[in-house]
Every structure is written in C-alpha cells, then in structure tokens.
Symmetry: C2
C-alpha cells in the first residue's frame, strides 16, 4: 500500500507542531512532534514542516516522490478555497497568511489547509465517534471552545469560514456583556479550560476547598468527582451552560450526536453532568453525547483525510 504513495498530515498548534505520514487507507506510518514556542513567522513554520517531512519520509524508508499531498490544520479562521489563514489567536498572530501556497512550494505536492477544529470533526466523521451518523457537532473544549459542524457527512464551514464559533454563544447563565477581542467568549468563560481556571482563581477560598488556587481545569474537574463542593460548583456551572448550548444546537440542527473533545471536553465528569442535565429536559429528540474516540489524534486524523481527499492517487 505504501507503494501507492503517502500523505503528510500536519496539526499546527499555538505551541507545537504535530506531523504524520499516512498511507492511502489513513493508517499512520510515522509521526513526530516539534515545539513552535517562540516561532511566529509563517515561513519559519513552513521550513520546519519541510524539514520534518523530509525526515519522516526517510524514517519510513520512502523517497521524495512517494509524497502525494499534505493536509494542514491551523488554529484560526481559514479560507479553505484560497488556502489562506485569515486570522489566528494572539499566540501566532497570523493575518491573511497564504499557507497553502507556501506549503505547495516547499513540498512540491498539492496541499489543503483548514481550521484545526474542523479537522478534528472531520477525523471523528471518518474514523471516530461520528462514523455512523450523517450529522453531528464536534465540540473542542480545551483552553478555548470551538465546534466543527458536520452535515450530510461534510463539514459546514460557513460563508466567512467561521461556522462553529460557539465560544461566544449566549445561553441562560452566560454573561450578556460584550466581550473584548482576546478575552474568552461568554460560553468559553464558563466551559473552556482557561475560563474555568480563571474563574477558579477569582472565587478560590481556602475555607471551601482543598484544591489549590492555581489548579488546572482538569484538576478542578477531578476534584469535583471526589466531592469537593467548590469544585463541583465549577463543574456544574460549566455543565449547565454547555448543556444549554447543546440543547440549542440540537433544536437548530436536529443532529443526533454531539462529540466532546479537547482536554476539558474529554473529562468524564463533564459528559456525565451534561447528560444528566439534558435528560431532565423534555425534548422530542434527545441527542447522544459521546466523548471523542480519537482524543489527541482527532486533528491529525482529519488532516490525513483532508490530504487523502486532495491526493491524486495512481
């Protein structure tokens, strides 16, 4: 199968770069990870990708010509048609970067660029929790909150490539105040990892909890399961607004499945609480809530399928 060629998948995060070579069936042959801390120049990132691709091909015992296409997930709003990263968060600070063109020049093969959450959703659609349904929403709940919307087995990306920007959703319990750029959105402030730990620091008091003030969201959710009251209140606040967001999306889209991914989204306590809250609502159609099957590999898997769809095989 390797004779048929391979694709390069790249998951470009704010602080690290993950790469993999996969065969035509989507199976990962080799992979690696590199830090991008302090690296912001897109051309430097592209050179890092070029170099890693060369090394990965060598490691897999393949020559340069085996590479057929590259799929790249970028942490920002991405114009898939033009291959341009329109805007990323402050960490990278990219604006209108023609990433596809850079990559095609550097790698000599067709490339496709998409938003990283969209790619995680695509990964789940093709090889994860979404394989058996036509429509679902993938919720990436890590530092921030975003969603990938899959309808009729295809990504719905929106007219300005921002579909699934659910970090800003307004539901009962979220703040109605306008949010400054760079600050967590209304939903994100209660559900995202950054929002959860920020809120924890502000409300922390030694009288109420044994969890340290500087705890991560995951540590707080862990403590919620052991009966810590203050931690449970934080979990409940997150689960409440997340259950409303899912309820609203289920009404609008009538999709049968929501997949929770990202470091916070994968926490069993969050899913348990959300399922419990949703069950209390009388809905004509109760959506299923599942944790991501692919976990950390959702993005890279989506990048593989994006590249496979683009590759001109044989």
């Amino acid at each position: 199968m390797i004779d048929g060629g391979v694709v390069l998948a790249v998951d470009l995060g704010a602080t690290n770069l993950r790469l993999a070579l996969a065969d035509h069936s989507g199976r990962i042959l080799v992979r690696r990870r590199a830090s991008t801390v302090g690296v912001r120049d897109p051309e430097v990132v592209v050179r890092m990708i070029q170099e890693a691709a060369r090394e990965l091909l060598e490691e897999a015992g393949l020559d340069r010509g085996s590479l057929r296409a590259a799929g790249v997930g970028s942490p920002g709003v991405t114009d898939v048609d033009r291959g341009v990263v329109i805007a990323t968060s402050y960490l990278l600070g990219w604006r209108d970067v023609p990433l596809r063109e850079y990559l095609e020049t550097a790698l000599g093969v067709p490339a496709v660029v998409d938003n990283d959450v969209n790619l995680a959703a695509l990964g789940e659609a093709r090889a994860g929790a979404g394989r058996t349904v036509d429509d679902f929403v993938f919720l990436a709940i890590g530092t921030g909150v975003g969603a990938g919307v899959v309808l009729n087995r295809r990504l719905h990306r929106g007219s300005a490539w921002t579909a699934g920007e659910i970090g800003y959703l307004l539901v009962p319990g979220t703040s109605e105040s306008s949010v400054a750029r760079g600050e967590p959105g209304a939903l994100e402030a209660l559900v995202g990892g950054e929002g959860i730990s920020q809120r924890w620091r502000q409300r922390w008091s030694t009288a109420q909890t044994r969890v340290p003030q500087c705890a991560t969201a995951t540590e707080i959710l862990d403590a919620a399961r052991t009966g810590d009251t203050a931690a449970f209140e934080t979990l409940h606040a997150a689960a409440r607004v997340l259950s409303y967001a899912i309820y609203d999306m289920a009404l609008i889209l009538n999709c049968p499945l929501f997949v929770l991914g990202g470091s916070v989204g994968l926490h069993p306590a969050l899913r348990e609480s959300v399922v419990e809250l949703l069950a209390k609502r009388d809905t004509r159609v109760q959506p299923r809530i599942e944790r991501s099957r692919l976990g950390d590999d959702a993005q890279i898997t989506g990048a593989i399928y994006l590249a496979l769809d683009r590759a001109e095989w044989g």
Copy 2:
C-alpha cells in the same frame, strides 16, 4: 408554457387551506382559499384538496392531464422521504398521517409533503429574500416561532425532521423552566404572537398603557412605535431574546442572512429593534436581517417549487 403542464401547491394551515396552480416557471395562474375550521380528519382534508384542484384546473381552462405534481406544506413535523406527517399541533392533532399517499391516490400525480416553515424558507430561497445567498435562516414568527434552515441552497431538515424548532431555544432572558407540551416554548413565549399577547394580558394595567388588554401582538408592536412605554417594553423583551437567538445561530452556522417572516416577524418595529441590538455586539461577521419578500405567499411559493422539483416535465 401552460401547455407544458402545471403543478398544484397547497398550504395547509390549522384553520385554512390555500391552493394555487402554477406553471413550470413558478408563476401562479389561479388560486383559492378554503376554511378548515372544524375539519380534522385527514381524508376529509384530502377530499377538499381534490375538489379544489378540479375547480382550479377548470377555472384555468386546463384538463385533468395538465396536472403534473403536487407540493403540500403541513403545519407539523413531516417525514419528507416517506411523505408522512408525523405530528401536528393540537388544532389538527394529526399523528403519522400518510398524506403523500392519500394525495397521490386522490390526484393521480406525484406529490411531495414538507413542513410549512421549511416550505416558506424554500420559497424565499428560490424567489424571495434568500435568492442571492447559499445559506440563510428563515424565521417564521406568527402565533408560534419556527425556522427553516437553508444551507448550500438546500433545506437542512435534520435527522428526525425537526431542524429549526427554535421556539424552544434557551438564551439569556428566556425562562429555564421545562415547558409542557402545547405550551409556548421558551423563546416563543417572548417572541411569538401568542406568547406576546399572553404576556401582555398578564402584565396589563390601565395605568401604564392605552392599549387594550386583549390586544393582538401586531397591535402591541404598533403601539410600541407610537411611544407607549408598556408596549415598548414588550417589543424590547421580544427583540432582545430574538437578537440573541439570531446571534447564536449566526455563530453556529455563519450564515450571512436571516429572513423574518410571519405576521409578527414582518412587523417593521421588530426588525428595527433586532438590527439595533445586534449592531451593538462586536461580531466578526454581522448578519443581515431582512423581512420576507414573499410575505403571506412564502409557503405557497415553496410548495410550488417543491412540486416543480418533483414533477416529471416533458
């Protein structure tokens, strides 16, 4: 063009039946309306449609063989694939009615059945406010509240045919209490005509307003524009939650347009207030809010296009 055949479009409301014959370009040739007050039996409704179709063909000077297909909008959850009306509101009280089969038998031509709000959205997509965009949401705000979701120029109907059930949406300002079947949903209670007039009756006091206690939603919105404080408060409560619902849908779907239809949705005061409230929000993409172009004819126009898509021309 009439030689090419005609289609029958039917808009089946809870209290009346609207019918039209249209040519292959969608132009309405003849139309009529009949009361269905007191009529609940689906077979009686089908006989009324059969009789009206016969009379309309006669009126248009066409013979029976000119009819090529029928498109019908039903006020309820409708399985378009099977042609079955799964559930309507209490007024009709239908459950699992094989309406398409009944119609095909009665009319002798292929028929298609869909939810009436979906058909209004389809009408706007083909011949109204949605003609120039790929994605938009049509909001039918009359007695109740529902939406038709058009993505990639096609209706998104959902896995259980309930997409767009936005009357139950939860946003800041709506009640979080569970809603009993038959009662207005959380959003509907503040934005729908029935909800607006119900709330008005409950809060009415002669000291605060010159609008009568039994005023309709339209009368209350009219009064809001003339400076009546209590009426303005009612308008503002409706516009506030509606603007949040639109904001949330715009985040999830990133569609550039929302079309307001239905007797309340068409009121200029509602659109004005919603536009004003949305403009205050810092959004990456500000959606356009337009009133329905087709007004009362949105549903019947959608039914025409549904039938045209189904008709075997030539």
